[in-house]
């Protein structure tokens, strides 16, 4: 068995990384935060043009017909750059469940989704439709068919909305064995891994540059230990996220269990990296003008959505015990 990504998977990740480095710098994320640029960002349009939104769509519908394992590294990069749009909900949850993808693959239609057992959806001001769920399964509802109550989020780029829908409205979606929700879980987990990497990278860069007592603060053992702790959490979470993607791609019967493991570990890693990053940055880490909070607050939001670490550990306990 091969335990490494293929050349193609690495190439798709690198291409996404190059695109986002140019199109989604912190300045662009901040512009969304401050409501300066309503509407989808240039990064969203470029990602759609690149074909990212159709990775999981069948070729017969204009997609690439690839698997969750091909998408996981790409979504990790969207976390690293804190892409504001709900790409996990659109590309990982909605796209594989739909039969008509004409406008979804070009990105002109944005589809968001509520997390399981929740009526909150990100990208509520942007989305044209929503994947929602009830005891009968999932459904696609148009924006005009629902009531949207905008909510405060710790991460203001998320434009979080409370979606009220009538279970008789909308189009019912066929979601055998809850794969749509497992894809969402793994997608959010991969974004958390990306955010963890980003906060660690920013902090390493900062502690090398910031001098105290004539030396970089990163040379102090106490600072090194914080960063090593965050790195260990990252390296423990990452393989679980990749394994969950592999399980989905290969129809492993335990993919839901693996998705829960991924979300629990990725949430913990991102929260820990956020705490360590904030502490190692000192006072500047708290300032709104410094970019760290863009990533840290996204991590807080994603760690608690789609079930937090504790709820996924409970779910695992029920399966194991």
């Amino acid at each position: 068995m091969r335990f490494a990504f293929t050349e193609d998977q690495i190439a798709l990740r690198d291409a996404t990384r190059d695109l986002l480095a140019k199109e989604c710098p912190p300045k662009a994320v901040r512009a969304q935060w401050e409501g300066e640029e309503p509407g989808p960002s240039s990064a969203w349009r470029a990602l759609a043009e690149m074909g990212v939104l159709g990775v999981l769509a069948p070729e017969s519908l204009g997609g690439l017909g690839l698997s969750e394992l091909d998408l996981v590294l790409v979504l990790e990069e969207t976390g690293y750059f804190a892409l504001p749009e709900p790409i996990v909900e659109h590309a990982a949850v909605a796209v594989p469940l739909l039969n008509d993808l004409t406008t979804a693959l070009t990105g002109t239609e944005i589809i968001s989704a509520t997390a399981p057992n929740s009526d909150l959806a990100p990208g509520a001001t942007l989305a044209h439709s929503f994947v929602v769920g009830d005891e009968n399964g999932l459904a696609l509802v148009e924006r005009g068919q629902v009531e949207i109550g905008l909510c405060e989020s710790v991460d203001q780029t998320r434009s979080l909305g409370r979606i009220k829908w009538d279970s008789k409205s909308g189009q019912r979606l066929d979601d055998p064995r809850g794969k749509g929700q497992a894809r969402g879980l793994v997608g959010i987990s991969s974004q958390l891994v990306g955010l963890t990497r980003r906060m660690l990278d920013m902090t390493v860069e900062y502690v090398i540059e910031r001098q105290q007592f004539g030396v970089p603060v990163g040379s102090f053992q106490a600072v090194k230990h914080h960063l090593a702790d965050a790195r260990i959490a990252l390296e423990f979470a990452r393989p679980l996220v990749y394994r969950a993607a592999w399980s989905l791609a290969t129809d492993d019967p335990d993919y839901e269990v693996h998705a829960s493991m991924a979300k629990a570990m990725a949430s913990d890693a991102a929260l820990l990296a956020g705490r360590k990053a904030l502490q190692c940055h000192g006072a500047i880490g708290y300032s709104f003008e410094y970019d760290l909070h863009l990533f840290m607050k996204r991590a807080w939001a994603l760690a608690s959505t789609w079930g937090d670490a504790r709820s996924h550990r409970s779910r695992l306990a029920q399966v194991i015990l």
């Binding site: 190439a11 291409a15 695109l19 690149m50 074909g51 990775v55």
Partner: protein
């Protein structure tokens, strides 16, 4: 309309470069990437071929160790095929030898209407190769194009000058160097990336192109690296005490930089 684009594969500029202490040449052992300045030529070529309604874009490159990573990026953007000249005897080739090899590669492709290059590479900066390729091919050389158009068997460019631009035209076939920013390079699509590795790369040696080992590499080089020195540290700026007339000094300073 068939277009050849000369592309260089260079060490990643994000990683600090190193010189070989024996030869003072840039080390190129690791993975190479497409020189960013060449992505403009690739994009321009793709747009010209589309506008012409037919034809294809062929990449021409010279690189050590049969390196194709940078070529794959340009193939993913939409180029149809590539010629890669790779051969240990080429190490140390100067600009003129490189231009002769690239010109022979263009001839090997055959049926080329236009050759596009960048104005200079990001790691070499000689800026002489475009004109040298044109001379080796016996074709017109048009340089510093900020726009390129093809019509009636001619290539028409706007040639960037310090004061603005000149309109220049030449009959095809011709060699044109394009400036960065001539067009906005596209991002390679996922489909393009996956198809790129199936596209043909014609890997040839200097010998295949008719060169003897003494005509290329260190042996055939007419240039020599005599000395390498660290770049001088930046000098402190000029301080002006404002006597009410300092605005005039600022205007003179900006005029000197040709900013205004």
């Amino acid at each position: 309309m068939n277009i050849a684009v000369c592309v260089k594969q260079i060490p990643d500029p994000a990683v600090p470069g190193e010189l070989n202490p024996e030869t003072s040449a840039l080390k190129r052992e690791g993975k190479l990437i497409l020189d960013d300045s060449d992505s403009y030529g690739v994009e321009m070529a793709l747009q010209l071929v589309t506008a012409a309604g037919g034809g294809e874009v062929t990449l021409v490159s010279m690189a050590p160790n049969n390196e194709t990573s940078g070529l794959r990026t340009a193939l993913a953007m939409g180029a149809a095929k590539a010629v890669l000249v790779s051969d240990d005897t080429l190490a140390g080739s100067d600009a003129l030898s490189t231009a002769k090899i690239l010109a022979k590669s263009v001839e090997r492709v055959g049926d080329i209407d236009l050759v596009l290059t960048a104005t200079e590479s990001t790691d070499g900066y000689t800026g002489t190769i475009p004109a040298q390729i044109a001379e080796a091919l016996g074709w017109p050389s048009l340089t510093f194009a900020k726009s390129v158009a093809i019509a009636d068997g001619k290539v028409k460019i706007q040639r960037q000058t310090e004061a603005g631009f000149d309109d220049v035209e030449a009959p095809l076939p011709a060699v044109v160097s394009v400036t960065a920013g001539v067009v906005e390079p596209r991002y390679p699509s996922f489909k393009g990336i996956m198809e790129a590795k199936k596209k043909p790369v014609d890997e040839v040696t200097a010998g295949d192109l008719g060169f003897n080992p003494d005509q290329v590499g260190w042996a055939g080089s007419h240039q020599e690296i005599v000395e390498v020195r660290a770049a001088p540290a930046r000098e402190a700026g000029e301080k002006i005490e404002d006597d009410g007339e300092s605005h005039a000094r600022i205007v003179t300073f900006l005029e000197g930089l040709k900013i205004i």
